[in-house]
C-alpha cells in the first residue's frame, strides 16, 4: 500500500490509500477536485473528443485476433462464448459413456 499525507482534524498525519474513506480529508478532497479540473484544462481536446463520441454507445470490436473498445460505436460487436465451453463436447455423453472414456481408479 502507498502512504499519503493528509490533513486530519488534529493536524498532519499519515494514512493509507487502501481505505480511502478513512484517509480522505476535506483538504485532500478539495485538492483532488482541483486536480481533476486541471486535467480538464490541460487536455481540453480529449474532453471534447469524449463529448463528441458520447452520442454513440461504445462497443467491443474485434480486429486481428484481439478485441478493442470502439468509441464510435460503429464496429461489429464481439460477443465471446458464455463460459469456456471446453466441456461441451462431453455434454452429449451419457454417464455410462463418460465413465467408459474416463474411468475412475
Amino acid at each position: 500500500m502507498r502512504d499519503v499525507v493528509h490533513e486530519s482534524e488534529r493536524g498532519w498525519a499519515r494514512a493509507s490509500t487502501g481505505d480511502p474513506a478513512v484517509g480522505l480529508s476535506r483538504r485532500a478532497f478539495v485538492g483532488g477536485v482541483a486536480a481533476g479540473g486541471a486535467v480538464a484544462l490541460a487536455f481540453p481536446h480529449a474532453f471534447a473528443l469524449a463529448a463528441e463520441f458520447s452520442s454513440a454507445d461504445p462497443v467491443i470490436g474485434f480486429y486481428m485476433d484481439r478485441p478493442y473498445l470502439d468509441l464510435s460505436g460503429t464496429a461489429e460487436p464481439y460477443i465471446g462464448p458464455q463460459g469456456t465451453r471446453s466441456g461441451q463436447v462431453l455434454a452429449g455423453l451419457s454417464a455410462t459413456e463418460f465413465l467408459r472414456l474416463h474411468p475412475y481408479g
Binding site: F43, A46, I60, P67, T74, P81, S86
Partner: protein, 494 residues
C-alpha cells in the same frame, strides 16, 4: 491493487494473464520435425497494470516474450516480461504511471516532465524480437531495443551499439541482408516527439555501426517497416501522422489522415541523404513489406497494402472522412519505381486481390533478393466456425495461413480449425540450403474454446494437408505482434 474491471476488453480469452512461465517438454500432437533446432520467439502485449484510459491502444501494454525452444523433436516454452524502464517504474509504484499510447503528455504528473523530455523511456519493447551478432533483443519503435538473455529471457537492458546509434528510437523492423550479414536499422521521430527526422544505420555482422544517414520525411509518419534490395533501401511514408499539438491535446499518438499522399523514399545503400529520392502516390497504408528488389533501373516493392485505415484503434480525427469501420481490404500489391524517369509517381499492380491481414512474411533468406512466395494469414468465411464455443467471430478470425505465389497467382491454404485464431506466420527452411519455400510455416493459434494457445507447425509445401504437429500450451498466450525463427547456430540458447 490491480483492477481490470474497467477494461471491457479484458474478458474471457482476452483477460490478462500476468504470470511468467516455464513449460518443460510441452505436450505435442503429431511429430515435431527433428531437423528444427533453434527457437521460435515471439513478443506481444501483456499489461502489468491496466491502462489509465479505457480507449487506449492495445499496443500500449507491456512487452511479453515467449520462446518455444526446439531441440531434437521436443519443445520447451518460457514466457517473460521485458523489464523495461517503464515496467520497473510501474512495478515499483504498483500502478500504471504511463498514459496513452506514445503520448507522455498524458502520463502521471510524477513522471510527466521526464517522459516528455525523454519519450524513449516509455518504450515497452512489445513489437518485435530478433537476433543479430549473437544478441537477442526485443523492440518497439518508440525507444531503444532491449537485450535479453537467450538462455533465460532475463532482460539485460537497453542497447546503444557502443554509443554509435544516436537515434532516440529504433524501428521494430530492421532488415537483415542475407548476402552481407548486415543489419539495416533506423529510427523515426529520431530527435524527439513528432519530429520528422529519420536516422538510418548499417550495422555489420559483428554488431558494429558502420554507417549513419540522417534525413527528413515529407511529413511525420509511422515508418513501421522498410524494404531492402541489394542496391537500395525503400522507405514508405503514409497517412498515419501526428503532431506536438495533437499530443499536447492528450490524444493517442497516431491519427489516420486520408488527405495525405503516400511517399516512398528510395535511398541507394551506399548513398547519402542527398541521394534520397521521394516518389509520390495516392493515399495508401503500407505498414509492412514483403520484399523488394532492384531490376536494372527499376525498384520493385511487394507489400500488404490497403487504401484505408487498417487500424481501427488509431481512428481518424472527427470530421475526417475515414472511420474505424472502413478498415477492410488489405491485399498484396506491387509498386514499381522508375529511377531513370523524371516523373515522381509510381505504378501499382494488385497481385492477389484476396484480402489478407497485414502481417506478411517471406522466406527471410530471400530478403533483398528476387523471391516467389509470400505468406500471410487471412480470413476464410467459408470455413466452419463454432460460434457457440468460440464467440461470434465467424468471418472475423484469421483462420487460415496462405502461401501466395507471386509469379503464378496460385494460393495454397492451411486451415487451423473451427475454434482457432491465428497469429503471424513465420517460415522456417527445412535445411539451410533448401530451395525457397521448402520448409515449415509456423505460428501460434489461439484455441478460443479450450482457452489455450497452440504452436502450429505445417509443411509449407503442402499446407492443405494440415499441420504436422501442434505444440500445446496449457494456458492462453497474450496477443502477439511479431515472432521469428532463430536457428541455434545463430544464438547460444540453453
Amino acid at each position: 491493487m490491480v483492477d481490470f474491471s474497467k477494461d471491457p476488453t479484458a474478458r474471457g480469452f482476452y483477460a490478462p494473464e500476468r504470470f511468467e512461465s516455464n513449460v518443460y517438454d510441452c505436450e505435442v500432437l503429431g511429430e515435431v520435425p527433428r531437423s528444427m533446432n533453434g527457437a521460435f520467439v515471439r513478443v506481444g502485449t501483456e499489461w502489468l497494470y491496466p491502462s489509465r484510459f479505457r480507449d487506449d491502444s492495445i499496443f500500449n501494454a507491456d512487452g511479453f516474450v515467449g520462446m518455444f525452444r526446439f531441440k531434437n523433436g521436443t519443445v520447451d516454452f518460457a514466457g517473460r516480461w521485458v523489464r523495461t524502464v517503464r515496467w520497473e517504474a510501474d512495478s515499483a509504484a504498483k500502478r500504471q504511471l504511463y498514459g496513452y499510447y506514445r503520448n507522455p503528455f498524458t502520463d502521471d504528473p510524477s513522471i510527466r516532465a521526464e517522459t516528455i523530455e525523454q519519450p524513449y523511456l516509455r518504450t515497452l519493447a512489445n513489437t518485435n524480437i530478433l537476433a543479430h551478432a549473437g544478441k537477442l533483443f526485443a523492440m518497439k519503435e518508440d525507444g531503444p531495443p532491449y537485450e535479453l538473455d537467450p538462455k533465460t529471457l532475463a532482460t539485460r537492458g537497453p542497447m546503444s551499439f557502443g554509443g554509435k546509434y544516436r537515434s532516440q528510437t529504433f524501428s521494430a523492423h530492421p532488415k537483415f541482408d542475407p548476402v552481407t550479414g548486415e543489419m539495416i536499422c533506423y529510427g523515426y521521430e529520431a530527435t524527439g516527439l513528432a519530429s520528422n527526422d529519420v536516422y538510418l544505420y548499417s550495422v555489420d555482422k559483428t554488431g558494429e555501426v558502420k554507417r549513419e544517414v540522417r534525413f527528413k520525411t515529407p511529413y511525420v509518419s509511422m515508418i513501421h517497416d522498410i524494404a531492402l534490395t541489394q542496391r537500395h533501401i525503400v522507405i514508405p511514408v503514409f497517412a498515419f501522422t501526428t503532431s506536438l499539438e495533437r499530443l499536447k491535446a492528450g490524444k493517442i499518438h497516431w491519427a489516420w489522415d486520408a488527405r495525405l499522399p503516400t511517399y516512398i523514399g528510395i535511398l541507394p545503400r551506399d548513398g547519402t541523404a542527398a541521394d534520397l529520392r521521394w516518389f509520390k502516390g495516392p493515399t495508401r497504408s503500407i505498414v509492412h513489406t514483403f520484399n523488394a528488389r532492384t531490376e536494372g533501373s527499376k525498384v520493385v516493392l511487394e507489400s500488404p497494402v490497403s487504401e484505408t485505415n487498417p487500424f481501427p484503434f488509431f481512428p481518424a480525427d472527427p470530421g475526417n472522412a475515414d472511420s474505424p469501420s472502413a478498415t477492410r481490404g488489405t491485399n498484396i500489391r506491387r509498386h514499381t519505381f522508375e529511377l531513370d524517369s523524371r516523373h515522381d509517381g509510381f505504378a501499382e499492380e494488385i497481385l492477389h486481390a484476396q484480402p489478407i491481414n497485414g502481417l506478411g512474411r517471406i522466406d527471410d533468406r530471400y530478403i533483398s533478393l528476387p523471391n516467389r512466395y509470400a505468406y500471410a494469414g487471412f480470413v476464410d468465411p467459408n470455413r466452419p466456425f463454432d460460434e457457440a464455443r468460440a464467440g461470434n467471430l465467424r468471418g472475423r478470425v484469421t483462420n487460415c495461413y496462405g502461401c501466395f505465389d507471386l509469379h503464378t497467382g496460385a494460393v495454397s491454404a492451411y486451415f487451423a480449425g473451427d475454434t482457432h485464431s491465428l497469429n503471424e506466420p513465420v517460415f522456417v527452411p527445412r535445411a539451410p540450403d533448401s530451395p525457397e519455400g521448402d520448409g515449415y510455416l509456423i505460428g501460434v493459434a489461439n484455441n478460443l474454446a479450450e482457452m489455450r494457445s497452440e504452436l502450429i507447425i505445417a509443411d509449407a509445401m503442402n499446407l492443405a494437408a494440415g499441420d504436422v504437429a501442434r505444440v500445446i500450451l496449457p494456458f492462453r498466450l497474450g496477443a502477439q505482434v511479431h515472432g521469428n525463427w532463430i536457428s541455434e547456430d545463430r544464438l547460444a540458447f540453453a
